[in-house]
Amino acid sequence: MNFLLRRLGFYVLAYWAALTIDFVLPRLLPGDPAATIMGSLGSRLQPGQVEAMQKALGLDHTDGLPQQYVTFLSHAARGDLGFSYSYFPATVTEVIGTGLIWTLLLGLTALLISFVLGNLLGVFGAWRRVGFLANVVPPIMILAGAFPPFFLALSAVYVLGVQFNLIPTSHAFADTLAPAPTLEFAASVLEHLFLPAVIIVIVTIGIWTLTMRNTMVSVLADDFITMAEAKGLRQHRIMFNYAARNALLPSVTGFGVFLGFVLSGQVLIEQVFAYPGLGFLLVGAVGSRDYPLMQGLFLMITTAVLAANFLVDVLYTRLDPRVRAG
């Protein structure tokens, strides 16, 4: 419990750091940050709204820097991140809302498949010391992971979409449908989810496999494995209940870090597939210099990563009895 509380404290701190980054960034812009941020948005807003937005972003000239910071934090806490320039009159929070669910759907699906498959391959690859799984699969996975993800994505779009028109290569669901809890809609969602998810799996599976394999190789050298073998226990029991259960622990702790990488990288995949998640919105925001939206999206992506990390921590306490105590 102590452990979880400390981790939670850390994540709160990290969230605050992200907020602070959001606060500092506009000041990196040449010239007057407020003017640049507002950009052409300024002309569309009424004077009252201009002031409100400046305050929300901590850019109100009338306050001193510390006061700006505090105002910024309090607005952020209330979920007021200003208006989005490119999606005006929608607020940043509203735009984020539309993207969140797609990012989560794509991310979680791909991550789950990648993690489970990757670790299984790693376990088997370490157990069979020679042979296909141990010697051929890891280098292939390294190769797959070496490709820039967006390159693989583009190639897939090109080959499967443009040339052969086999599979949908953009958007989250068919343009002709409207979101509704129908089977048809669900099928369309799955269809559009397929390719982006597959690409993410291909690019990320290597990490799990190699980490698991390396950890398994160390664990298999441990004395308690020798003891388990000496006891004449069945191979699958030793492999899973003795070796993998222990090898999984470092994988799970690493999971948190890699999770961040994977969710970050998803930005590119969403971009290529025009999958309307947070990443896609972020790239779009950069293109239209929609600073408020950029900052808000960064915050949201960070929150997602932090939340996922915390869940992983909770999972870890269930897996490792030595941590449960303290």
Binding site: L25, A146, P149, V162, E229
Partner: protein, 301 residues
């Protein structure tokens, strides 16, 4: 670390050859693909021909020249990032691991913060707010990439600090810096090289991604900008796949080669993997046994 062993290891050897190939090719660009890669030389979207080995891109530039010259800045950014990131990682990681206490707590907190905040989105934001240039790219990449390795270095220093030879140095009154640089650092060479290579891979890959998103100096010719211009010009829709495939493959193969080097180094330094190899040379079927048992290979005595 015996680098000659790396050459003997088949996987490591392939890795070194691949990486050397790209380094040499990039350095030799003026000879291999003479001319200005940004020059408009012909009709756009021409397929590969004897005149243009890789064809032309949607702007009418020679793709072969772009690909060969692109390696220079791509690799340079990779090296720059790696040098900067690893230097910072060594400084912070070693300080944290060696001195412990409050210093360690604060530095570890810093490391963890940088690790947990998502890298690419931060990179995108920084690139969007700052003026794009090679040095800002290297700076921001190093900023998002140092923490991962710093953590590794810190653990390494923590475990080395417990070893007897370090205790002996401390007891005999050697200064902290002497201990750090003469005792601890030499034992970390393997890990540092491994991390350097990892950083290289990250630097090249992330820079390519940023360029693809249009967030770096777009007048430079790099593998990433090549991909950007190809995509921007609608190469895919025009069916001109030769415009974006070469640069992408170059990035992939370079990263692959670097990974193989790391993989080979792993095999050499990990005594268990080495033991398996030694055994495999003599006993063909041992590892395929259903049950793990010491093999019985009788011979005359």
């Amino acid at each position: 670390m015996d680098f000659r062993l790396l050459l003997r290891n088949p996987i490591g050897r392939i890795g070194i050859i691949v990486v050397l190939f790209f380094v040499v090719a990039s350095l030799g660009a003026p000879v291999i693909a003479p001319g200005d890669p940004s020059e408009f030389v012909g009709d756009p979207n021409q397929p590969p021909s004897s005149e243009h080995i890789f064809g032309t891109d949607p702007q009418g530039k020679d793709v072969f020249r772009q690909t060969v010259w692109g390696g220079r800045i791509s690799l340079a950014i990779g090296f720059g990032t790696a040098i900067l990131a690893i230097t910072v990682a060594i400084l912070i990681g070693m300080t944290a691991g060696f001195f412990g206490g409050l210093v360690d707590n604060l530095l570890t907190l810093l490391m963890n913060l940088f690790l947990v905040i998502p890298g690419l989105p931060l990179l995108i934001l920084l690139a969007a707010y700052l003026a794009p240039s090679t040095s800002t790219v290297i700076g921001t990449l190093a900023l998002t990439g140092w923490a991962f390795h710093a953590r590794i270095f810190r653990s390494m220093v923590l475990s080395l600090r417990e070893k007897d030879f370090v205790a002996a140095s401390i007891v005999s009154g050697e200064g902290n810096f002497t201990i750090l640089f003469q005792q601890i650092l030499p034992n970390m060479i393997n890990i540092i090289v491994g991390s350097f290579i990892g950083s290289l891979i990250y630097g090249i890959g992330a820079a390519t991604a940023l360029s693809f998103l249009g967030l770096t100096e777009m007048t430079d010719v790099t593998w990433g900008t090549n991909l950007f211009w190809a995509q921007n010009g609608g190469a895919l829709f025009s069916g001109a796949w030769w415009a974006f495939v070469p640069s992408g493959i170059c990035v992939a193969l370079t990263a692959f080669g670097l990974s193989l080097i790391n993989y080979g180094m792993d095999e050499i330094t990990n005594p268990r993997l080495r033991a398996e190899r030694e055994l495999a040379k003599v006993v063909k079927n041992a590892a395929l046994r259903r049950v793990r048992a010491t093999p019985f290979v009788p011979r005359a005595h």
